[in-house]
Amino acid sequence: MRRTDAADPDKMESSGAGSLSIIRSTPNDDAGAGAGFEIYIAIDANGQVFAYNGHVDLGTGIRTALTQIVAEELDVALDRVTMVLGDTTKTPNQGPTIASETIQITAVPLRNAAAKARHYLLARAAEQLDQPLDSLSIEDGLIRAQNNHSVSYAELVAGNTVRLELRDDVTLKDVNSYKLVGRAIPRLEIPAMTTGEMIYVHDVRVPGMLHGRVVRPPYAGVDAGDFVGTSLIAVDESSVADIPGLIAVVRIGDFVGVVTDREENAIRAAAQLKVTWKPTPTLPDLKDIATALRANPSTPRVLRDTGGVDDALANAATPMPRTYVWPYHIHGSIGPSCSVADYSDDGLRVWTGSQNPHNLRADLAKLMALPEARIDVIRLEAAGCYGRNGADDVSADAALLSRAVGRPVRVQLTREQEHAWDPKGTGQLMEVNGGLDANGEPAAYDFATRYPSNAAPTLALLLTGAVPPVAATLQMGDRTAIPPYDYQAMRIVAHDMAPIVRASWFRGVSALPNTFAHESYIDELATEANVDPVEYRLRYLKDERAAKLVRDVAERAKWEPRPTWTPKDADGDVVRGRGFAYAVYVHGPFPGKAAAWSAWVADVAVNKATGDVAVTHVTVGQDSGLVINPDGVRHQIHGNVIQSTSRALMEEVTFEPSAVASREWGGYPIITFPEVPTIDVVIVERQDQPPLGVGESASVPSAAAIANAIFDATGVRFRELPFTPDRIRAGLLAAEQKTKSASPLKKRGLLAGLATFCTAVVGLIVAASPWRPAIAPIAPPDVATYSAATIARGAQLAALGDCAVCHTAEGGIVNAGGRALETPFGTVIATNITPDVETGIGAWSYPAFERAMRQGIHRDGRHLYPAFPYNHFAKTSEADLQALYAYLMAQPAVRQTNPETRLPFPLNLRPLLAGWNLLFHSPAAFAADPTKSEVWNRGAYLVEGLGHCGACHTPRNALGAEKASLKLAGGTAEGWTAPPLTSLSHAPIPWSEQELFTYLRSGISQFHGVAAGPMAPVVKELTALPDSDIRAMATYLASFTSNAPSHAAQQAMAVRLETVTSAKPLEASQQGARIYDGACAVCHEPGGPQWFGSRPSLALNSNLHGASPDNLARVIVEGITKPVNGELGAMPGFADSLNDQQLTELIRYLRTRFAPDKPAWNGIDTALRAARGVAR
């Protein structure tokens, strides 16, 4: 499948205008079209240069650097060169863009090709100008002789189609004559990135494109085992029947996807689709990585064994066995992967952000059973990937969905999918046995490393069964496994092993963990030998370039020798220290190739009380050989320092029993602006040496340098990442031989009141007069008899009574019923109250309506369930009921039959309700209290009558009746706690009349929070009422609270509460704290950035101070997606992003921090179960 554009070399050649191509013949071309060769450079008849490289730009700036190399070698201006990267129909297959090898390795043939073209053009020019070759000079593609005659590349190319074979022995330009290479050329893409004009793969739109989402299996992040691809039981397509624009539900093996017209519909469909899966096996416990990796089957591979290690160990004066543990990491692309695929009879075209377009094409060929020649993979820029992320997975997903619907489909992975399924940077275990001899020299270095990771097959291949889910064992744990030091006795063993969870390469691959061990260990040796760690390294570092770098960096950092550890002066609880580490990143199959050398001095500040570690400053040096673009190198160094600092300090994937648990940034925090160290970069000038890869090297010393600095600050060695506050605190405490017994959380048994209910229900069989007559149907009344003013008043009353809130189904027509109301007694289906004669209340006379409102009797004589709050409505005045009737009858009739309410026996026996009414219902109208003000009485009428506040806010007895003695003392509504409105309120700041007014009017009180859950639609409906009525309600409700504080007093209380709770309490859940920081603080941290919408203060929030965690659990799980009004903004739900364990820790943290004077909650698990039950 070919595309033709200016960069198409075939088109250039076939046009006949002339072209010069530098090619390399390939023995077995499988690219399909055209002859067996790959093209590196093509110059067209306009003198435009096209350069082709099989690698891609992952945000590192290699497009610019490669352009510099080509332009330099060809002596043309930069803008004459177009770089074509990673395009399967055009570029050579140079493998995946990995191991920092673009500049160091894949640019070599490109440079040679440019040189070849230059030589050819010079030779042609010498002929044409009839001048000696060595007398010619070139400036921007114009070759000039000393007689000032000249000829351009365009003229030389025009009219002839020339193909030259690339040779590796071509003479290159002298480095000293470089004009472009070595200069800080601004990156070509950045201006477009700053204005939104840059087209990422996420931004591809093609005609007729649909939107897809995939639904992944429950074994998130696991890709081997016979359950992979075979766990799907059923897909219930009817569960998404109501999704507008649904095109298809696709299932192939364990691959499930949906396709719709609009993206938001695809999101809804994927969330709503009911899929049943088989249970999946549990994983080894990855909280204990060392044990899990030791138990994982492996094959030892001895990489080096010299100097008689066993004897040396036996004779060591100071044996020092050490174990270093590296956690699982996520690549963490900021943009979850995305792709567009277009499958047609012609073949498959895929727009991708893949790191390896050619490998992806091979995968797609296998998946779709298509020859590679019919697959066109177009690579666009994507969010940085730093290794193998979900880019290939989503491309295969898009291909499957496009084939299923026969149209182009764009698939966007969710944040949760990218986090969970991204092939992880694996956990790694490094064990060192060694020690010092009697002279303080290293006695031996017996190193074993375990790296359970492979190439992570593209997911769709596994899910559809196209390849068997058998974990391959690759030999990739050996990167930089050989330490850089000249240890006399050395045994290096890589225990090759298959992955435990889906894992693949991540920046620094196995070299970063291996170096963590090497560089921590030599520091430990130096300390033990009482020698300065830099000096100790230099004793055994035989590589002169390395030694120079180490000396340069130490000097730049003003390193002062520290031969013996001494306690540091503390500034309060804070101690400071600095650590050194060095590495040359050796990558590729063993023994591998070395990329740039790198060395770090890290400065840290450790708070011994909290365990917080700040990396305050990093001096980082690098010897990269010839620097193509100093800006590019410097920025890569910055990026490596910041990212690897983040990995060392805070990153760690957590697991559920059978899947990855970290699915968003709260569960997997990364570094933020205030935490970024200042960075001082030292570039060692080596313009005479070949250029080396710089994409990863500066990451490699990071963890060890930081660990060594923490040791320097505290005197305690940390050999397991990440250096989180809890780990540091625990380590420091352990070092002080202190033990602190954590009090285990008491779990209270689940208390269900069901038994009580059942017993009570039997008492209902005290039937009084259970049968009531029907009231004859009427023809719908002529609404013209009601004045517009009456109907308008009725509209207000309907809003006050929240008629539409209960009688409108989710996304349904107003008042047409169908909403399922969860009650403690079962699900009650709201009825149609539009004036439709057959399915609504069109045949109801006013007396029938009034009887229903006052007595809870249907027109046909049936008892209505008291979910319909007729006990309140009964208090409504005759005039108001008339107006309400008029309004309802004036609305459009909607024919809609809703399901019948079917409560379980004996509640299905409606006549029993007669007994209930006898016991609990008084149909008396409202009677004013002459001792109270008019406003108070107005409020009482609204609150107790149509407003029916007590229906939720008054506790109910076992038979579901409001307890008269506990009016407004707090109840429940649809699984939410309806807080007490009396002096029993849990709110930390008592409600005042003014705050009640503000809250009911706007949906927010600065001293309490926002209206959420069932209260949000109530406040929304109240907008129909005038201020005077809201004021009256506030007056009445405030009369239940004695001594409400003044506004100034409330303000003062708020300040005090926010101050008291401003710090993270030490005893609070650390995991909960991290989730709060990553997921909640953005909107809820007092004093945080300003955002559109409200920022409810959690210290003041009634829900945080309540007796139960129910409302908090509900809000976090469901979010507040339908705020009272737009001004308040919205809150996302975290049901699919955080699991129960994470939510529990978060809720514990929130309670401890924001309601410090309240006891810890029991029953968080029950609250979460309830919240999830209704959320989905």
């Binding site: 945000g59 590192t60 939104g196 990422y200 979850p336 990364i670 953005v1082 559109f1092 997606t1121």
Partner: protein, 170 residues
Amino acid sequence: MTDDPIRLTVNGTGHSIAAAADTPLLYILRNDLELNGPKYGCGLGECGACTVIVDGVAARSCVLPLSACAGRSITTLEGLGSRERPDPLQAAFVKHQAAQCGYCLNGMIMTAKALLLRNPHPSEQEIKQALRYNLCRCGTHVEILAAVMTAAGHHIARDHATGDAADATH
């Protein structure tokens, strides 16, 4: 259910959008208005890649329902300036080469722009605090900070890591 069309102004142009009222603004901007500046990053308001400015204030468009935008004025990255006529903040990002993959850039620029709108000369600490909930994975923080500092009127030499040391006690 088809909701009534919602009217809003984006980059100075009025639009009437017929879509479900609870659709996050992000999808309207990207799919209906074909604006590529705002990016999907997390859908939870955590990372900031989707940031736009609503009535002068930064907003995370991935969690902002269309219904909340009725009658409001929205500015996206495209509305700040173009390559030919960039906003000074955009120009500062180019000057400091403040991008690696560039995916987070929309959020960085829009959040910083909102900060500068209410405080034209923020201090370095204020900038760091304003951007602390905008995530960057490439580690471009140094260059981004330099760009915003420049736009805030500080004199910043190119490519010098700036700033006070982070403090373990905060």
